[in-house]
């Protein structure tokens, strides 16, 4: 059954996917470590702590130390996952990630819950809208956000099995399950959800489900849509973007500032190719506030309606 035919009703937060997958990985490989910073419950690592205490470290509220400690562990062959919130995992420890993890290219994973606007009622201080953009500019870093529970599990597994620093971003809130449990995902290779020829949509993370709904509506109105889940924004799947450039009309959708995230990454390729128009849907370079998640998305135009409307606007071009 095509994803477009599915009713996306069952929901699960992707931070749960990390919590479940990391236990499985830790049991298989004793070198997998989790480093917590006092938010284990919220980051879903409590099961790991219970079952694999010898592979767990909690440094308390000290993110910078967590990143450096992870680097030290990695020099001895461990595969540490530093588990925190996206605002802290990208910004509080940005310099430690740069100096001690990316510069020496150590095998450390930064696993972050509360990506984008998903920590909605916590307010603007806790909503990570610039994290993927910041991490994308560090050499050696891979930047990934799965769209749902199952894809996130596969991507966490891939991250553990590849060498080098990876930034993984999860949702705080439940998002619809899109994929089948056995669907395979490869870091750096976009997942084509629908093929079409009138317009291309490239989405990632918690906005993929919105892009799917928009695609359904557009297809119902006779618009043929090519839809990609670009779970890895670095390295970007250039081939997938090239496919979209052939159509020439591209919409990017992300729960991230429109600056320096997925939209920017796609624009870089489009500009280099000198062909195609891009419309970026995402956080409008503004901080959030406490509000329901859907409300925050709507305040930034990250909605099914806006995707559909933007598509029709582009089709007029």
């Amino acid at each position: 059954m095509s994803i477009l035919e599915k009713d996306l009703v069952v929901k699960k937060a992707t931070r749960e996917a990390f919590g479940d997958e990391i236990v499985k990985l830790g049991k298989e490989n004793k070198n997998i470590y989790v480093i917590d910073v006092d938010i284990a419950k919220s980051c879903k690592t409590t099961k790991f702590i219970k079952e694999l205490p010898n592979q767990h470290i909690n440094v308390g509220i000290a993110e910078q130390n967590a990143a450096g400690l992870a680097a030290g562990l990695a020099t001895t062959g461990k595969i540490p996952f530093v588990s925190t919130y996206a605002v802290f995992g990208s910004l509080r420890m940005a310099e430690q990630i740069r100096q001690e993890i990316c510069y020496p290219n150590l095998n450390v994973k930064i696993a972050c819950s509360h990506g984008g606007l998903t920590p909605a009622n916590d307010g603007g201080s806790h909503q990570a809208i610039e994290d993927m953009g910041v991490l994308r500019t560090f050499p050696n870093m891979t930047v990934v956000m799965g769209a749902d529970y199952y894809s996130t599990r596969k991507l966490v597994e891939q991250a553990a099995n590849m060498y080098g620093p990876v930034y993984l971003r999860f949702t705080r809130d439940a998002v619809p399950i899109i994929y089948d449990e056995h669907e395979e995902f490869i870091i750096g290779k976009a997942k084509k959800i629908n093929d079409g020829e009138d317009i291309a949509i490239i989405a990632n993370g918690d906005t993929v489900c919105l892009a799917i709904e928009a695609t359904k509506q557009l297809e119902a109105k006779g618009v043929s849509v090519k839809l990609f889940d670009m779970h890895t924004i670095k390295p970007l799947d250039r081939e997938a973007v090239m496919e979209c450039i052939k159509i020439g009309k591209i919409i990017t959708v992300e729960d991230h500032n429109i600056l320096n995230g997925l939209g920017s990454a796609v624009c870089e390729v489009v500009a280099e190719e000198g062909k195609g128009i891009v419309r970026r849907i995402g956080v409008q370079d503004q901080f959030g506030q406490s509000a329901p998640y859907q409300k925050l998305l709507a305040l930034n135009g990250i909605t099914v309606e806006n995707i559909v409307q933007t598509a029709f606007g582009l089709l007029q071009k």
């Binding site: 470290i57 967590a66 992870a70 030290g72 001895t76």
Partner: protein
């Protein structure tokens, strides 16, 4: 294995200082002040204490050394060159394109560097990670970490100490090169460090305060602290003089990060050699 004697170490410390200064002079760039203040400890570590193998620098059971005050790398490079981790001639390539001797230590380019450093305040966290791994893997290796005094103004140092105490890392040995100078002047003026020994002690370390230029005291201290498996990380504050061994560099903040000219270099080499008597 016979341990290098204090007298031999004193001789080696001269070579260490001369080698470090020669590389800075040749490069006309680098940090002499903090290299010279750490020279005696570094000599004792590299020629007596550290269980490392120049022919197998990534040997998994080796002792680790983390130079958290990464700008003092000329003195570590001197040790690596004199111990044969790299050909001695490497000292003439400091800070040059393609050199293993980068401006700050780079583990990817230089054998014998256990972690890249250079941004202050971060090395101790890495050392803590290495020491935890050693404990968990039931390995006997030890982790030695040298901090600058000014660097202890960074909050991350104290985050790392907390963790070392929590995880009872008695395989971790922290040294503070307390020369009381940083780039903008005396630490007491820039940001007073107060009683560093008491601070580390209050955090839960077993501490010592010694003369960082007395090879006798350094050796005696190393011999004591390395046998004491009491569940506590050890911290040694070394009272030192920035630029030690070169009269015109001693206690002068400006010599933190500049290279000597021809005349200054000659005088420095002579003074260092004479310092022995």
């Amino acid at each position: 294995m016979r341990k290098t004697s204090v007298e031999e170490l004193k001789q080696l410390a001269i070579q260490m200082r001369q080698t470090a200064l020669t590389m800075i002079y040749k490069a006309q760039s680098g940090h002499p002040g903090g290299s010279l203040s750490a020279a005696d400890l570094m000599t004792a570590l590299y020629f007596r204490e550290l269980n490392v193998d120049p022919n197998n620098p990534t040997w998994e059971d080796r002792d680790r050394f983390v130079l958290s005050k990464g700008h003092a790398c000329p003195i570590q490079y001197a040790a690596l060159a004199l111990r044969g981790f790299v050909p001695y001639e490497t000292i003439y390539t400091l800070r040059e394109y393609g050199s293993p001797f980068q401006g700050h230590p780079d583990m990817k380019k230089c054998p014998g560097i256990d972690i890249s450093t250079g941004s202050l305040g971060q090395g101790l966290s890495c050392a803590v990670g290495m020491a935890i791994a050693g404990k968990r893997d039931q390995k006997d290796y030890r982790v030695f970490c040298l901090l600058g005094d000014g660097e202890c103004q960074e909050g991350q140092i104290w985050e790392a100490v907390q963790t070392a105490v929590k995880y009872q890392l008695d395989n971790l040995f922290i040294f503070v090169d307390y020369n009381n100078l940083q780039i903008d002047g005396f630490c007491d003026e820039v940001m007073p460090l107060l009683d560093l020994e008491k601070k580390f002690e209050a955090f839960g370390c077993e501490t010592r305060y010694i003369n960082g230029h007395s090879m006798e005291e350094i050796v005696e201290t190393l011999d004591e602290i390395t046998v004491n498996k009491n569940g506590k990380p050890k911290c040694v504050i070394l009272e030192t003089v920035k630029g030690k061994g070169v009269s015109y560099m001693e206690n002068v903040a400006e010599w933190h990060g500049i290279a000597p000219n021809d005349e200054e270099y000659e005088r420095a080499m002579e003074e260092i050699a004479r310092g022995l008597q």
